[in-house]
């Protein structure tokens, strides 16, 4: 919250492994020396280190422990989003193949690091939870979609609560991959700027403990009011130019929440700072909301957290509600005149009751969340 208010961006010039790209990244510096809990050492990799670091923030372990006592370990689901899981471990291992046999190093743990499920397996073990569990890996919408999974699992009676979240960490696949598509900026990313020229890759994570609304004890609790999911059916790595899938996701989220466009007080945009994403999303938001709802992308602070973007931006959106705070957009200088929405560069304040958060991914996978207070 302090970093948001102080407009302190996490983006720094790229110094990561031996990556030779001229770009900015958001890097969690302490991961190099950090190790996961010793009983889970097979899971040790950059992604799970980051997961543990996130779990240990803000009293989350204690809150989960209380839920475990209340519901039982088998009644709490674990649904995680990640795009690349522990692939960095494999990238590095491929540099150390046995010169005779070509085999991977003997200390390489495939299931616990590279496999996409690694993250949910690690989190379940770390928290001692034995409920239903899986990883959603739908690129940059992954950890927004887990809200929908938790909602359905609880409504179907498969579990009573869920730990949802997402973690993605720096790796060469992502940096060189986005670079090959010409989508990586040489500068700190400038969402919705007229001169925007690409993303800054970041690493990060977040977790949310979610239970049925009827269990809410706080005076003014935070609710997941609605989720909308859709598919572009257009292109693998380019969003639909008119924002068709984005429009559907936002409308479905509003419908699920039983709300109108005018009920939303702030929109946390996907806002990756690529030419195509911001143009397409901007059209979609203008179509659904007109030009009156304050909007911003917070990726100027965090970089693009890919599979962890959904959860971290949902958390920022909930902070906006809690603190009556409207985040602006760091690095953005000159707005794109072709995008007709109320995009905020400067931070602001106001009564924020309900927020919408967008997450869109490769493969045309879209998810919008409505979070906030009831009534």
């Amino acid at each position: 919250m302090e970093a948001l208010q102080a407009r302190q961006s996490g983006l720094v010039p790229c110094v990561f492994e031996d990556v030779d790209l001229e770009t900015y990244i958001a890097k969690v510096g302490m991961l190099d020396s950090f190790r996961v809990r010793s009983d889970l050492s097979a899971y040790d990799c950059r992604n799970n280190r980051l997961a543990q670091l996130c779990l240990e923030q803000d009293g989350f372990v204690e809150a989960t422990e209380a839920a475990r006592k209340k519901y039982g370990a088998a009644r709490i689901g674990v649904f995680m989003g990640t795009s690349t899981s522990g692939i960095l471990q494999t990238e590095l291992a491929y540099r150390h193949l046995d010169p005779q046999t070509g085999a991977l190093p003997p200390d390489f743990h495939y299931a616990e690091t590279q496999n996409s499920y690694s993250l949910a397996g690690f989190v379940s073990n770390y928290l001692g939870l034995t409920g239903p569990s899986f990883v959603v890996s739908s690129a940059c919408s992954s950890s927004a979609k887990v809200f929908a999974n938790a909602l359905r699992m609880m409504e179907a009676g498969v579990c009573d609560a869920a730990v949802i979240g997402g973690v993605d960490s720096l790796c060469l696949s992502t940096l060189y991959g986005f670079n090959s598509l010409g989508l990586v900026s040489r500068f700190p990313c400038r969402p919705y700027d007229a001169e925007r020229d690409g993303i800054s890759v970041g690493e990060g994570g977040g977790f949310v403990l979610i239970e049925r609304a009827t269990e809410a004890k706080a005076a003014d609790p935070m609710f997941l009011l609605g989720v909308g999911e859709s598919s572009d059916a257009y292109h693998m790595s380019t969003p639909h130019p008119e924002g068709l899938g984005a429009i559907l996701a936002m409308r479905r989220a509003l419908d699920a929440a039983g709300l109108q466009a005018g009920d939303i007080d702030y929109i946390n945009l996907h806002g990756t700072a690529t030419k195509s994403n911001d143009a397409s999303e901007g059209k979609a938001v203008a179509d659904v909301f007109g030009g009156k709802v304050p909007c911003s992308s917070t990726k100027g602070w965090t970089g693009h957290l890919l599979g962890a973007a959904g959860i971290t931006e949902a958390i920022i959106a909930m902070l906006a509600v809690e603190h009556g705070f409207i985040p602006g957009s760091v690095n953005t200088q000159q707005l794109d005149a072709a995008i007709a929405i109320d995009y905020r560069i400067e931070n602001g304040a106001g009564k924020i009751r309900r927020v919408l958060s967008n997450s869109f991914g490769f493969g045309g996978s879209n998810c919008s969340l409505v979070l906030g207070r009831k009534a």
Partner: protein, 265 residues
């Protein structure tokens, strides 16, 4: 307990070339004859995408298309759940090799095919579907995770869901640490309401604790079930093929499982 109706089935594996052709093998009426998985690019895809399709996309689209044909539903009308332990394993191997040596030139196609939801993305383009689509992984239990997620979508959201499970082998050196034996895919069209097309009702229940897992009687099919995560579906397909009321159990994660009751319509 969640009740779903099965309206269509797709199947492609070694010696299992389509659901109709494989039913008698699954019931034990015909002998299993081993043969390489008959991989082919689906004619659902535009030519450009067809050229870029790796094994998972071929598997997923072939079985998905078969299931929709059987259900007599339009592909654009259903939500989709794709589940796989690994995604495109050939591509991951290639990218790791490229990144280990200079110059690190990962092609755009390689990169966008490396996302776990690549098959889902290609499917939605081919099917013209704007409906929700998710892509899951739960290691060896990926099929069960997909079935559980599909069941909640059917029951809670009243969605028609196409569940597509697929896996294929890694090249070395990853094959040694994750020995998936062959290419295998299966698809189920699941609905909340019974229709004239419904083949069977399946009652799905998530349970804590261990239970004896249902296995395949035929040794080769049992090897297949154990050798490919997506082939954990085989006992369910065998029960559907038998067309009589059958109770089965499939392991989920350590310490839990799914009980499934199959009742023919």
């Amino acid at each position: 307990m969640m009740r779903l109706y099965v309206e269509g089935i797709g199947l492609l594996g070694p010696g299992l070339d389509g659901w109709s052709a494989s039913r008698a093998v699954l019931t034990g009426e015909a002998a299993y004859v081993a043969a390489p998985t008959n991989l082919r690019a689906s004619d659902m895809l535009p030519a450009a995408e067809r050229r870029r399709a790796g094994v998972p996309i071929k598997l997923a689209l072939t079985v998905g298309q078969e299931a929709f044909l059987q259900a007599g539903r339009e592909t654009k009308t259903a939500s989709t759940v794709f589940t796989s332990s690994g995604g495109d394993n050939d591509n991951v191997h290639a990218i790791n090799g490229i990144l280990a040596t200079a110059p690190r030139e990962v092609s755009p196609t390689r990169f966008h095919n490396s996302v776990h939801n690549a098959a889902a993305g290609y499917w939605c383009i081919a099917a013209g579907s704007h409906e929700p689509s998710t892509s899951l992984c739960a290691y060896d239990a990926s099929f069960v995770a997909g079935l559980l997620e599909s069941a909640t979508q059917v029951v809670v959201d009243d969605a028609v869901v196409a569940l597509v499970a697929y896996d294929h082998s890694y090249p070395e050196p990853l094959h040694s640490v994750r020995p998936i034996t062959t290419s295998f895919g299966a698809a189920l069209i699941l609905t909340k309401q019974q229709s004239a097309k419904s083949l069977a009702a399946i009652d799905v229940e998530f349970r804590s604790g261990k239970a004896p897992e249902t296995t395949m009687k035929d040794e080769a099919l049992e090897d297949l079930r154990k050798g490919v995560p997506a082939a954990r579906v085989l006992p369910l397909l065998a029960a559907l093929a038998a067309a009589k009321t059958t109770q089965i159990s499939i392991d989920y994660l350590e310490g839990n499982h799914l009980d499934i009751r199959v009742t023919p319509c």
